[in-house]
Symmetry: D2
Subunit: 428 residues, 4 copies
């Protein structure tokens, strides 16, 4: 889906903007912070900074730069994430064992690739640039995905430290939300998927038809206050609310609250990027797994929406363009979900708070075809064992979310900034 409007100047400007944002996010972190991998799902900050650079080096420079040579042979190996087609790679769970290249060396690598990217883009002929623009644009969105991951990951890194470190920012004042409202959606034979006219990943294609019975969608996310009621009502102790796999995890890992909550002297505290604070009842609950989201919905007598229902409702409610209009700017004050505004009869809280679990498994749309070559490994090969999330979150960079965006995580994942929106109806 190349965007025909890209010229060299626009590409360089956007490139510089995206790249600079990564460095801005890493700036508050010490070399020690940037080195740690606190669990296999997490990558060190400096690894993220190097990997997104490797992406441009591998998929843009390597094929088009005259007399290309890798910046460093071993970087090819160290900073490949999962592209089998590019060659072997350093084992993911061991990314935190690599002290060198250090933070400064990674900065030098970034600067070198940046200079070469600018050179390449400004010297390519127009025809070649047109063909390459879509890969470069993919690189922008790839780096934005890692900006979000960088924040989710450092949040986890800091969480395992008993010193309770702060990344940045301060929390807002405690809040209370308006009551939950519902938006009615008619359904029928609807269209799902990317319509063109802007960037989309290959997994958002093709645009296709689905049949939906009439349904209702909550106009905001489930709040911490509502989650505390679920907990008080034995939510984590009642097997009948849970999927079998979820119940097994509850017991094996002793779940009794969302991921970053701890109880101290009877008060629930939450680890955030701003530090550790009492749980704010008005904010959306976050860092819950699909299993927890599903159990909550069962407790509430509701259900999670399918991804088709979510997308169609957002489009039908006129929210599809809100993301691009800036509604999903990351909250750089708190890096945390915000309280919903007053109820309006529309979907008042869609982008920029929590990735919302759906009841849909992450599978190919009918007729889906991954891109060719190693870049085809980007999305398609992960279509097994994961659930779709929609909407973006407080850590999503500005302009990155959209109505058709399909995020995905395994149903037991909790370290992503995930939340819950309820649905109802949908039955003949």
């Amino acid at each position: 889906m190349p965007d025909p409007t890209w010229d060299a100047a626009a590409l360089v400007a956007r490139y510089d903007e995206v790249r600079a944002h990564t460095e801005t996010l890493a700036a508050p972190l010490s070399p020690e912070d940037q080195t740690v991998q606190s669990m296999p799902d997490v990558s060190p900050t400096k690894w993220h900074r190097a990997h997104v650079t490797w992406f441009f080096e591998t998929f843009v420079l390597a094929g088009h730069e005259p007399s290309f040579t890798p910046y460093q042979d071993q970087y090819w190996f160290l900073f490949n994430s999962y592209y089998e087609g590019v060659g072997p790679r350093y084992a993911r769970p061991n990314r935190g064992l690599i002290s060198r290249p250090g933070v400064h060396d990674v900065g030098l690598y970034r600067a070198d690739v940046d200079a070469r990217m600018r050179d390449l883009v400004t010297t390519l002929d127009g025809g070649t640039l047109d063909k390459l623009a879509s890969t470069i644009e993919l690189g922008f969105h790839h780096e934005q995905q890692h900006q979000e991951l960088l924040l989710m990951d450092i949040k986890h890194v800091l969480s395992v430290n008993p010193l309770r470190p702060v990344y940045a920012g301060t929390p807002g004042a405690p809040s209370e939300p308006d009551p939950l409202g519902w938006v009615e959606v008619e359904g029928g034979l609807v269209e799902v998927g990317h319509r063109g006219g802007g960037f989309g990943f290959d997994n958002e294609l093709p645009l296709h038809q689905q049949w939906l019975e009439p349904y209702r969608l909550a106009d905001r996310l489930v709040t911490n206050g509502e989650w505390l009621q679920f907990m008080a009502d034995g939510g984590y102790a009642r097997h009948e609310l849970w999927l079998s796999d979820g119940w097994a995890r509850v017991q094996a890992e002793g779940w009794r609250a969302p991921f970053y909550w701890t109880e101290v002297d009877g008060v629930w505290l939450e680890h955030t990027l701003n530090g550790t604070w009492p749980v704010d009842p008005g904010l959306p609950v976050s860092h819950v797994s699909h299993y927890e989201a599903d159990a909550y919905a069962a407790w509430a007598g509701k259900r999670l929406p399918t991804e088709g229902e979510w997308e169609h409702a957002v489009v039908a409610d006129g929210q599809a363009e809100a993301a691009e209009a800036g509604g999903n700017l990351a909250d750089t004050e708190t890096y945390h979900p915000r309280a919903a505004g007053p109820s309006t009869g529309h979907l008042r809280q869609v982008y920029g708070d929590c990735w919302e679990w759906t009841s849909s498994a992450y599978l190919a749309y009918p007729g889906y075809r991954p891109s060719s070559g190693a870049i085809g490994e980007y999305n398609g090969k992960f279509m097994s064992g994961q659930m779709v999330l929609r909407g973006g979150c407080a850590l999503t960079p500005p302009g990155h979310a959209r109505a058709t965006y399909r995020n995905f995580f395994p149903p037991g994942s909790r370290w992503a900034l995930s939340g819950v929106r309820l649905a109802d109806g949908g039955v003949r």
Copy 2:
């Protein structure tokens, strides 16, 4: 979905028939054979025999027998499979550690419950019997599911023994199939799910609409001969054919052929319930995981069908009634898939060979509601992390398969008698 035609005599007759079939299947097995659990997924034969008895004791006798007392207190604990609502239970992976009750004791338990079941059914008043009939009928189908599992499980138990034991029967002569044919299906807004008029599990409900684009379905299963071509073409060594999770399993477990195949002096042998024999190229490939099925389809330039496509095609092709007409009698000569007959332009091989992997995750149909009480744990709580299989297999008891039947296993499972049918098209 109670069947209104059940009267006491019919229930007792069917009860006796189903119960006797279990014993027939266990008959070739020694006490030692019936005791072993060769991996956590497998249950010992005598455990199956006791568990299906426990089902009737728990869900029928306990609530309706005057002055009910359990046959043995600890059996309540030992033979509960996964019903949290019934109470705690012996750990599944340890079922093979329980030497007592022995095979003979389990026989006594079965006889006791059988006598009490006959008493109860023949002495209940009509109104109560009408209400109880659906649970008893569920017990029949439950026991049939375990008849199939008993055979899959003992197949695995015998496979780990270097003496290469035989369960029963002898294989047929080697065969060559007719070429693959394709059945064209029009699609549109179709109905999926159980229509009533006969038994169905709760997960087959409700009947609902789906939109299908035109598609094609292979008229028979993929054969061993075709699978050997896939292997010869590097099928197990080419990452680009595989889902990421599948590729990880291929490498972690060294997969290079279907589950029960071993290469001896350059010849591929297959462990079957009839013993170990050279792979027959004309028979359907069996004991492959969803990952392998998906990789094969990618290699063939095709795909797996969705469960909706599978069901609609079977109905549209007039195969829905074939199962009840006896087309899916277990092959008691070989307990093994059979070669497809000559191509006819219709779906010539549907039931009674291999459970067929679909591309659909096992999730709730829109508006699904599990049954109330502990019996509601039967299906619903497993709707996570599994893929749907359709069609029954050579180990499925007569009359147990049907067009709407939704079987499910995790995508890496190989010990079930699973095979592959290709699909194509389905794109606008």
Copy 3:
């Protein structure tokens, strides 16, 4: 150490006696009981019965029987325990997965080897027989070791069954022991090791000198009653009493009492081969690990004896011959340690109750040389990571224990019938 008194008739008589005792021990066990392996350390009864037969087939028949052929090729593989020199073998933790050969088939195997052994022994010329007698005698002692293991193993198998099965026998009446007495031993430059004149394993050699300072040895084993005091005084909760590895196990596995004890409604019950009964305070504590024995000694302000101290005291006290005089007959009424008799100033309880943990690591005596060939793997290769136990136990067959016998288990082992004797002094 061949015994010169063996002639063919004596060998056959002893052979028959030893072999029959194995069958007597297996007699109360069903085919199902004989099949189960409840943990990797445990072997199924029928495996023991076959393995001791394999020993004679491999180390006696194979090298001396004219036109020897194995009874069954795969038995060579299935019933090799750990002899690398004999060839590959079936994985130890999977012995419980082998339903065939069944109990009856193993009986046929035993009978076949028995007949061939009798033939061989009675037809060999005297010179050859003299050379072979020591291997056959080793086979007797080997089978006796497995008789003991068979009982320890089936004890564990039955312990994991919530039906609380009984192997055989009934327990005695509860008892109270006389107070602990101490035997003073002078020490000096003493001899340790086998002196010849009767059977001994290679690890009891060579006879060598050790320097011992004067020390004291308890005249009986620590009792259950004393152990209950240790528990009541926080023995399992006080880190300062424990070796670091021991404390890690206490916490990882939640140890709070000996292996086979469970607390039911405030009463401690013990699983025994006679069934499950309240702990008898007068009997020796049993099924405790070296870690527990060491912690108990620290709590009591004493220590465990070295194996040299144990052996020298037994010899000096005139107990060395007691074993052969029948003092260590297995208690066929209870298969359980007995209460010590009244204190006499001598070592009143030495053989036939519990294997006694020493403070000595299981290492080679100075100048130790293992036998040549595969039989050399019998003892020497296990001289790492284990602790020595002395004295025999209630499951040791008559005539098998002796003063120089070195048993060994890893320090965390609890399923062996192990107990505790205290020592004191030994310091200049």
Copy 4:
């Protein structure tokens, strides 16, 4: 064993010297290097620097400083290694997850405790200082042990990095050793253990008698060149050379050479603190486990010495004082074992190359009593499952080794700088 010669000035001078050496060793390492924990046995450099500081804070300042308050409450928890008596502590395998305190913060912590230590020592009255001097001296030796560990640990950290980083220094020219010589030792009733008159750990006490038969000890360590012969002769493939536990590790972990050796295009390279270089045949083999040392000795037809034999030979040969005379200065050019000098009829290579595996399990000497209080956990609780090593190594700080020093590691450990000295004889 307090040394009566310590006055305040001497203590402060030695304190400053020891503390400065730690910082010198850490100086070549970046913040990223100092943060990584490459396996559970390894600790991050900055953790070592903080932990040795915590030792002084906990065992000296806390009990004697007027109005003591911890520098930082959580440091108490983070930098406790294994002292149960001091309280809970951060899980050892997770030390590499703690990015904060960073390298700079740890420096501030060190400076603060240093100032307070100097204040305390110079203001205490003489009687109190006398009593405290032995704990402070223990702190010196404790910090020296961690200096050695810091180097062993960073060696491992750098080894997992495909960039092959260098810590410091350059290797010497390749060398060839003189032939192995043997030193004859008479034995008899000898004394083993610390004789007083200088520092020793509690595990070197008490001085006690052992009986030794005459034996021989090699006058230098086994070399890389000799090890290559062992490998060429199938040393890692011949089960009969190995202890059972060792053979299991060989197979489970694929051992085929010492820990830090890798074969590249037929050439064996060794990772060292100076970088990766071809194996030098004249240097002592290093980073081999006890299992490998034992297998090598079996291959050579020799054995490992007992710790008593080692110590007695060193004393009898007049090498006991060599360590203090500076013979064991760490080789700050290479941080690597050196080639032995020409054979002299004496023990020409004792200290300062490799810790030498003995055949002795690490157990208490007769009459051993650990110190009281938490400091008593220093040595005694590890007397299980480990083997003794003697002699110091190239990473041992100057003045730290001595003839009676008992180091210990589990028999499978390879990341310590361990080598092999052969023994022979010792039999009557």
